[in-house]
Amino acid sequence: MSESVPGPAPEVFAPHEAPVSPPQASEEVEFVQLLTPEGERVEHPDYRFDLDDETIKGFYRDMVLVRRIDTEATALQRQGELGLWASLLGQEAAQIGSGRALNKKDMVFPTYREHGVAFCQGVNPLNLLGLFRGVDQGAWDPKDNNFHLYTIVIGAQTLHATGYAMGQQRDHAIGDAENGEATIAYFGDGASSQGDVNEAFIWASVFNAPVVFFCQNNQWAISEPIDRQTRIPLYQRAAGFGFPGVRVDGNDVLATYAVTQQALKRAREGSGPTLIEAYTYRMGAHTTSDDPTKYRLNEDLEHWKLKDPIERVHAYLSRHAAVDHDFFDEVEAEGDKIAAELRAGCLALPDPVLSDFFQNVYVDETPQLAEQRDQFIAYAASFEGEG
């Protein structure tokens, strides 16, 4: 017992003590993987991907399209059309794999980066831009696609998800792995430090709520590396709360799909929460406002490029599923088309008018607000014809 500060995790303790694994270097990470970075399929004792190559082609298409959407949004930001953009670059497999595992009745609580999951749920990508363009704070109706509004306050949505799942319980919407309902809460590695996220774990565990906690560990919370949040792998957090945690290769869309589906089934059938740590990498900046060269090495990025979530599926499809250029070209073309539509849609987004927004504060407007709105309208009108 003579380690220095900060030292490695403690030695093994007696059986009445909680076991602790030593911190793992990212190079020797253990996780569920079904498709290697080289595009080779591998077996795992507990998880299998049983669907056909058509499904994998679908995943490929999804990933390419959301990356294309993401690239276009970044470009729109660079050109001043968006105030900000939070790119999902590198996290496509984590989002498509988990998003495609969802059933129609499952409910999603995203952060601000889940553009891929939004895509899976059928949210119009144009709707995602409003928040970043500054025309709204979430243009879609969560009920339309079972996809809640983006939540910017870190971790807050994990409690919402848990409460929603408790609602599913109360509606007797669980108890059956296929037809039951589940909720999935997305959050980041940084978010895992928030009190709210840990309270969500407690609630979910105590009430055995049908919620899957899906943590995209992209190694960074803005400039802070994962070791500012935890000294052990994040998926092990779940053990402290009494439910299973699993780490999956978040750049492997097949494994992410398989692991998420199993967790969703557990939730739907009434077996309670699961924590999934999707081990991935934020290949871009935190947002377009961020400059990652200030805090991380380019080598790191180069290293992760070899694990690109899309490349490996491309390799698999061309090598093992006899998919030819035509398919890839078509997807590429489809992406360009969507991107062009997105761009046109963005530019055509009408500017909002403040006077319309007073009425959204309350269902039943207050006299104070009505007065302020009238004053604002009269005041604004006094400038008309001036400009």
Binding site: Q137, L149, L159, G167, G195, E199, W203, T366, Q368
Partner: protein
């Protein structure tokens, strides 16, 4: 007609709301078997089950955060915060989520959540158990903040709050939980939730108050009769958005006003009321709107609370001052 305490009136109101609408849930710490530390939820779990009357883990952010999720699922959660001083761990969820959801969603999402907070002093409690933090909610767009002054209002206002599709913070005057009044459950209230109530008509000055101070002000008004003063007393009932029309009409009539609350003076609820009344009634006022309030210190150890809290004498002192102009 039965005589009922304010605490039991809220209990009855909760029960009525739960009977009417199966989506109404009650959640909080110790609200099940114990019936809450003030017994306001007594018997509800027994009758409505653990799914609708939920003893939660001990974490206020969790209570409000999961209530948001339940509301998104179509439920109408009524959350109990055990004491005023313990609402702050939930503040982020209240301020950034509950209050803003309707606005952020451009009206698509509703948050019919009621947050019940027993508040205020006068019960000889230890620290964090006697605070009046209503301003910290009243300033937040998206919330409505109410308080009741008597058992009859307690019974109806809790039901009206639950029926409201806007989130409401309901400050319950804990030291009045045992005050009694006749309640006629068959006669629905005539006042809408956010209307103030003139509880005593008068001509010389207006006392503006709410919650526990309503009784104090009424007593002060009675005492003032001896001094030949006829005071009007208004129970605001809603602190935000307070009822402009009723207040302005009264002050324009009496030309003098004193706001009374337990919350600290500076940046307290009284400041907004004073500023607003002054703006609207500037040419009517014979004196500035004065405030009789708690002092700008943390709530003191309870042996000093009688000196800290506005009481009959301090209200009369305020009246003397406002009449002195």
């Amino acid at each position: 007609m039965t005589k009922i305490t304010l605490g039991k009136a809220i209990n009855a109101g909760l029960r009525a709301a739960m009977e009417k609408d199966p989506k109404v849930l009650v959640m909080g710490e110790d609200i099940g078997k114990l019936g809450g530390v003030f017994r306001v939820t007594e018997g509800l779990q027994k009758d409505f089950g653990e799914d609708r009357v939920i003893d939660t883990p001990l974490a206020e952010s969790g209570i409000i955060g999961t209530a948001v999720g339940l509301a998104l699922r179509g439920y109408r959660p009524v959350c109990e915060i055990q004491f005023d001083g313990f609402v702050f761990p939930a503040y982020d969820q209240i301020i950034s989520q509950v209050a803003k959801m309707h606005y952020r969603s451009m009206g698509k999402i509703r948050m019919p959540i009621v947050i019940r907070i027993p508040y205020g002093g006068g019960i000889g409690a230890v620290e964090h158990h006697s605070e009046s933090p209503e301003t910290l909610f009243a300033h937040v767009p998206g919330l409505k903040v109410i308080s009741c002054g008597d058992p009859v209002d307690a019974y109806w206002m809790i039901q009206q709050a639950i029926e409201s599709d806007d989130p409401i913070v309901f400050f319950e005057p804990k030291r009045r939980y045992h005050e009694k009044a006749e309640l006629d459950e068959a006669t629905p209230p005539t006042l809408p939730l956010h209307k103030a109530k003139v509880v005593r008509e008068g001509t010389d000055a207006t006392l503006l108050c709410y919650g526990p101070m309503v009784k104090t002000c009424l007593q002060a008004a009675e005492a003032a009769v001896e001094d030949g003063r006829n005071l009007e007393v208004i129970d605001l009932r809603t602190i935000a958005p307070f009822d402009l029309a009723t207040i302005f009409a009264s002050v324009k009539k009496t030309r003098r006003a004193v706001v009374v609350h337990e919350a600290p003076y500076s940046f307290g609820p009284g400041s907004e009321i004073a500023a607003r009344v002054t703006e609207e009634c500037f040419y009517h006022l014979e004196a500035p709107v004065l405030r009789v309030t708690g002092y700008d210190t943390p709530y003191p150890p309870s042996r000093m609370e009688d000196d800290y809290l506005p009481d009959l004498d301090r209200v009369l002192d305020g009246v003397d001052r406002v009449m002195g102009y």
